[in-house]
Amino acid sequence: MIELKFTVNSEEVAITVAENLRLLDILRDELHLTGTKEGCAVGECGACTVILNGEAVCSCMVLACQVQDAVIETIENCDTDPVLQILQQAFLECGAVQCGFCTPGMLLSAKALLLRNPAPTEAEIKKALEGNLCRCTGYIQITEAVKQAARELAESK
């Protein structure tokens, strides 16, 4: 077992977990933050995307020990975070959500992009989202939604 301290969605967490757990398991099973999804479990689908120390990563690829002192953001932060809220609204308006399984990961990859690049080109959006698979939408609506969110964020500043 390992004692861990880290921050999730601006709240400090201190828990003791089995060392072989992945960040994905800690979020879903220990902290009951089930917005983060498990798809492939091998880094290929992006359903498990979270923002770890400012960068979007697959939480199925991160082991317990690696999150000591980390700052983590999950889709549950949508309740309070203005950037995620604008993205969420844009996804709804553009028809970028069907079954919704990929959506938490898409929003977090998109947020990580907008944080470092507030006015991305279409190519940059596609690049940032290339690790997030969607079986339903065909991606055009998703790319449009990120563009719309970027415009709205620029206007709101």
Partner: protein
């Protein structure tokens, strides 16, 4: 599995000397897949990603020195590398996806010893060297001498890669390309890969996914260096001596060879 988290590099090296066959864990993007599929899982896992001594990118005299845990994202986004070795930064743009390149480390890619490792053909044409460290001391070996057979290398179990040294050439003194052939552009593992560097009359060519580990194509290089006019038949004969493409779940041997021929011709014309 037992997990270890040394706090300093000397502590880590000392620990490696004591454990029987430790499994270093950097970004975890290969190891987590192995754990998932229960493939060659080892008992003692040693975390190294948090060690500050290993995370750097710097220039020293005429070399770039990259710390073991620099990620693919750190390298492709590094202003220093974009300036001093744009070929390396640009060629890593098609590595996995951002979600993986934000975690994947350069030493993990090299040490994993996969024939498909994307950094290796690039580093081979740049004639990079590895620093291997243990509690016994440090040694520097050329990357070309690191691999011994499929998934095997000369690293001893108490050693780890601590840095990668890339001798710098003036960026305008050579041209270089990296082609990675996969099923698609994004998030793909190479079916075949070629790194080509041309500098005056010197050709440096390395291939990935075409033999048991990535290699320089010595016969092709020699042929190109010594031929005024390139004869297809002779070029392909040299290639046949350098590579041993196989058929597996990713591709067919015949396809691998054909695309490699095509790209070689394209770049040497």
């Amino acid at each position: 599995m037992k997990f270890h988290k040394p706090q300093t590099l000397p502590e880590c090296l000392c620990l490696l000397g004591k454990l029987k066959d430790p499994w270093l864990l950097a970004g975890g993007t290969d190891i987590n897949v192995q754990i998932r599929h229960q493939l060659n899982v080892k008992e003692d896992v040693v975390f190294i990603n948090h060690l500050p001594e290993l995370n750097f990118i710097k220039k020293e005299e005429n070399s770039l020195i990259i710390g073991a845990t620099a990620t693919i994202k750190d390298i492709s986004g590094s202003e220093l590398i974009k300036k001093e070795c744009p070929f390396l930064a640009d060629s890593l743009a098609d590595f996995a996806s951002p979600l993986i390149s934000n975690l994947a480390t350069i030493a993990g890619n090299i040490a994993n010893s996969s024939p498909t490792a994307d950094t290796v053909p690039l580093l081979l044409v740049l004639e990079a060297a590895l620093v291997l460290s243990s509690c016994r001391g440090h040694r520097t070996i050329a990357l070309k001498d690191f691999y011994t057979s499929y998934k095997h290398n000369v690293r001893q179990t108490d050693e780890m890669i601590t840095s990668i040294i890339i001798p710098l050439l003036p960026p305008d003194s050579y041209t270089a390309h990296y082609v990675k052939i996969g099923s698609r552009r994004a998030l793909t593992i190479a079916k075949a890969a070629l790194a080509l560097l041309k500098r005056q009359d010197e050709f440096r060519i390395a291939a990935g996914s075409l033999s048991e580990y990535p290699k320089r194509l010595k016969n092709v290089e020699e042929y190109l260096q010594n031929s005024k006019k390139i004869v297809k038949k002779h070029l392909f004969a040299a290639l046949d001596e350098d590579v041993y493409p196989i058929s597996d779940f990713r591709s067919e041997a015949a396809y691998r060879l054909q695309v490699t021929r095509n790209y070689l011709l394209k770049f040497t014309r």
